[in-house]
């Protein structure tokens, strides 16, 4: 590592014009990310044209600012209105929204921005110092290992299911079945599409998410007419309190490392990282039963993992020229437009640009912390708006968000259908989160299992016994078994308490 060059590039990035572009990018990213339906990919794609006329460092700074800002921005609407702005924030709502409902929106938001900052910074630092080494390990991930990763992620279905295990499993299987709708990943044969061209790509994730969470919540609100004002505890300090940081530092550290590593694996995005980080935090917690009821560690785990992913995702892009996901694919395009060709040769020919990217990423995360913390007081006020005004606003914003993904009316119908399904699921105490997990991880599990089996000449044993796959599958089974045992213990405790009550 050439420290002298790194310092020179860092000084360049700290130039006021570059800083301004980074701050504009972060702010734009946060705003776009917080709007339901507008993903980080869309944010970067929409704002790429603005960077064309800019000098290289400013352009890189702005693009990375948008990327980091949008990933964090998704958590704002997830915490406040139970609608993840981006798929990456889907895991954040599990504990963020219950916290907001208890009047602790400010606490959840400040932890979210703090965890995002630490996660993003960790990702950027690891990217700076270990990029070539990590990319070599990430390349060992073949189809079998991806399958193992998907199964590990899916193993938390039971632990994210409050109430009945059976109901959680039913919803998980339903989600997996929904994820098979559309073209078969290997042969391209349309499955369960019933002749509809709109279903060829499968049900779009964003309208599904919007329907299950946002629209279902509005239907519930209309039914119960709970117009009582949501209270937000007065936010004296926008920083997370010391006791929360003490509680969460281990979780943040672990999730940041996990997120960076998952980000560095091509194809595994920040949504998967967030769920795996959340799952690991819950698995190792002393009070896992409290996850999903408003535990601050849940917010910290999901947010640090998904933002760490931004740094991780840059590793294969810069060192191998492989975009790991849609956002990095757009970034690759933007780099090419600027006359750069990411890949192994970039480390030889354009080391200054590489350091410029590393420095911009670090500064973008600091900008994220500043803009995020300043914004908390404004964001938290959103839920103090009268419910009779807020719910219709969320409703229209959600419908427009669903439409905006593909400019398709079909997606509005899809969101509405999932809204009705989500409403009934909530009404009859079916957990909704497993469906989300299954829709994200199902396609990854299926396509990679089948690819792995083709490579292994249909020997399932060969697929399962690969070292990384075997480790991930064992972890998945352990998570599943411990979740079931904990669930039973919890149910027995409740039953015993009820018996005692009856006895009295």
């Amino acid at each position: 590592m050439d420290f002298e060059l790194f310092v020179v590039e860092m000084i360049n990035v700290l130039h006021w014009q570059v800083l301004m572009m980074i701050f504009i990018g972060v702010t734009g990213g946060i705003l776009i990310g917080s709007l339901p339906g507008l993903t980080a990919t869309m944010g970067v794609a929409l704002l790429v044209p603005f960077t064309f006329g800019l000098p290289l460092t400013e352009s890189i700074g702005m693009l990375l600012g948008i990327f980091c800002g949008a990933i964090y921005g998704g958590s704002i609407s997830a915490i406040l209105i139970r609608t993840p702005g981006t798929p990456a924030a889907a895991a954040t709502l599990l504990d963020g929204y219950p916290l907001a409902q208890r009047g602790q929106a400010g606490r959840a938001l400040s932890m979210s921005v703090f965890a995002s900052f630490i996660g993003g910074l960790t990702g950027a630092l690891i990217m700076t110092f270990l990029s070539p080494q990590i990319s070599k390990f990430a390349l060992q991930f073949g189809a079998a290992e991806y399958f193992g990763l998907a199964v590990f992620g899916l193993s938390i279905i039971i632990s994210v299911s409050s109430g009945s295990i059976l109901k959680g499993l039913i919803i998980g299987f339903l989600g997996l079945l929904i994820s098979t709708v559309g073209m078969d990943p290997i042969s391209g044969y349309p499955r369960f599409t019933f002749g509809s061209m709109d279903l060829f790509e499968g049900p779009s994730f964003i309208p599904t998410l919007i329907g299950l969470f946002a629209l279902a919540e509005v239907f519930k609100g209309v039914e119960t007419l709970d117009t009582t004002q949501k209270t937000v505890a007065k936010i004296k300090n926008v920083f997370p309190v010391m006791s929360d940081i003490k509680k969460c530092w281990k979780v943040i550290a672990k999730s940041s490392l996990l997120g960076t590593f998952i980000g560095s694996i091509p194809g595994a995005g920040s949504d998967i990282a967030a769920f795996v980080g959340y799952s690991e935090a819950k698995r190792t917690s002393k009070t896992p039963e409290k996850f999903g009821t408003g535990k601050i560690e849940g917010v910290a785990a999901a947010e640090s993992a998904n933002n760490a992913c931004t740094g991780g995702a840059m590793i294969p892009l810069l060192s191998l020229g492989i975009p790991g996901d849609a956002v990095t694919a757009i970034l690759l395009g933007a780099f090419v437009i600027q006359g750069l060709q990411p890949g192994p040769m970039m480390y030889v020919e354009n080391m200054d640009v590489i350091y410029s990217v590393f420095s911009s990423m670090m500064v973008a995360n600091i900008a994220l912390l500043i803009v995020g913390l300043i914004g908390i007081r404004f964001f938290a006020r959103a839920i103090t708006v009268r419910k009779s005004i807020l719910l219709p606003t969320i409703f229209v914003l959600s419908l427009v968000g669903a439409y905006s993904m593909r400019n398709s009316m079909f997606d509005i119908w899809l969101a509405l259908a999932f809204g009705v399904i989500g409403y009934f699921l909530q009404r009859y105490r079916f957990p909704v989160s497993p469906i989300l997990l299954a829709i994200i991880l199902g396609p990854m599990a299926e396509s990679n299992l089948r690819r792995a089996l083709i490579v292994a000449d249909n020997s399932i044993l060969e697929v399962m016994t690969k070292p990384i796959t075997a480790t991930l599958l064992t972890l998945g089974i352990l998570t599943l078994v411990t979740s079931i045992l904990r669930h039973r213990k919890h149910s027995n405790k409740i039953a015993a308490m009820e018996m005692l009550e009856k006895g009295k």
């Binding site: 776009i32 507008l38 929409l46 109430g163 009945s164 059976l166 109901k167 499993l169 039913i170 299987f173 339903l174 997996l176 079945l177 098979t180 078969d184 290997i186 042969s187 044969y189 499955r191 369960f192 509005v218 239907f219 519930k220 609100g221 209309v222 039914e223 119960t224 007419l225 117009t227 009268r386 419910k387 009779s388 005004i389 719910l391 219709p392 606003t393 409703f395 229209v396 914003l397 419908l399 427009v400 905006s404 400019n407 009316m409 509005i412 119908w413 509405l416 809204g419 409403y423 009404r427 009859y428 105490r429 199902g442 599990a445 299926e446 299992l449 089948r450 089996l453 083709i454 249909n458």
Partner: protein, 154 residues
């Protein structure tokens, strides 16, 4: 009440799984490997079917401790939720014809009315401002074309 819901849901889920499994029989064999197009859907369908059956059986045998409000069409809240769904269907049907701006102002006003808001000045102002805000952000800043209305020649 929850017991009946679980039995009904379990039974319907099982029937749905049976149909879905039957439907996978229409998928062609995959030439790329022994594990074909129907393999993964069938695993999930079997899992779904078994869990639904278990839900119905356990609900039938045991007394469910969970409680839920019955879905009663005479209930005012249920009626409101249904009206809201129907209004959304109508909104989605007419939005391309009458355009986002006109439809959304009326739709928002209606939803606020359904939520028992009776300050008409606030409802009117909020409907117009929210619609204008969403339109400005998506149409003008983000370049996402929202339907402008076929009847106006767009």
């Amino acid at each position: 009440m929850m017991k009946h819901v679980d039995i009904t849901f379990g039974a319907l889920g099982f029937l749905f799984s049976a149909f879905a499994y039957y439907y996978t029989g229409t998928f062609p064999e995959d030439m790329n490997g022994e594990i074909g197009i129907a393999y993964f859907p069938r695993i999930t369908i079997i899992g779904l079917g078994v869990c639904c059956l278990l839900l119905a059986i356990t609900a039938f045998i045991n007394k469910s401790i969970e409680k839920s409000e019955p879905f009663n069409l005479k209930n005012k809240g249920t009626q409101r939720a249904i009206i809201c769904v129907v209004a959304t269907v109508i909104y989605s049907l007419i939005i391309t014809t009458f355009g986002f701006l006109a439809c959304t102002v009326v739709f928002l006003f209606f939803l606020m009315f359904m939520l028992k808001e009776r300050n008409y000045a606030l409802m009117g102002t909020a409907s117009v401002l929210i619609t204008g805000g969403v339109f400005t952000i998506f149409n003008l800043f983000l370049n996402i074309t929202l339907p402008l209305g076929e009847i106006y020649g767009f």
